[in-house]
Amino acid sequence: MPIYVTLDRLLDQRGMTLTELSERVGITLANLSILKTNKARAIRFSTLEALCAELECQPADLLTYDD
């Protein structure tokens, strides 16, 4: 899929682990892992909102399009 989730880069920049993010946004570690490894087929706006709120970023910072 040409859309990539750059979650690992943002986590590195904020010095946060995936486990910490999971606890803060209320998304399971398994689901965050699916997002991080680009295996997800779709993302809900509510999930995007929760991630952007916690990571203090824009959706464009999380998602990259590379054909």
Partner: protein, 210 residues
Amino acid sequence: MQTYRADRVVRVLSTLVSIAYFGLWSLGVTLLVCAPAAKLISAGRNWIWQVEFPANLPDPATTVQTTWGPALFVVREVRGRLQFPVGLLPWRLFAVLWVHVAVVLGLTLLSLHHLRQIFRRVQDGAPFDADNALRMRTLGLLLLALAVFNGIATLVTTLALRAELSGGSVSVASGLHFNLPLVFAALVLVVLAEIFRRGSELEREQALVI
């Protein structure tokens, strides 16, 4: 997340299916093994067996008087029961009957086995399991095979019986009859399997929506 708990009806039916499966296994194996043994050792013993088959009456139609006038009363779908000492039954006829019972029993047990597996996955909270769709399709095809085989085997059995009987006012009725409700149920299962297969795909996709 709420833990799935199967409906009480599903749990009760699942138990009944398991009981039927193990019961039929035990009864079936006993019958198939003991029947030839019983025939072998039946010499000098008056062990009576009975075989049921569709029968023809010599005069199935009669006129009856009703409150609205005379009407023709026709007797249909009569079943006869032939009772005889097992030691006198010819081996070739015994073999035909034994094979009929064995195949019907085998198909029924296979069907019950698949049904048990489907119930188990439903109780586990995974009704749209990919294997469930395949099992449902297999169950539908097994029931269809059972209906077709039973129809053909009953014809063969009644023809074999008819060849052995003579005299008497009742004769063996032979014809090709299929259990249409069973065929209908089989077709419904096959189409449901397709729906469940699609449901399984949607569930897998849904699991990847975060």
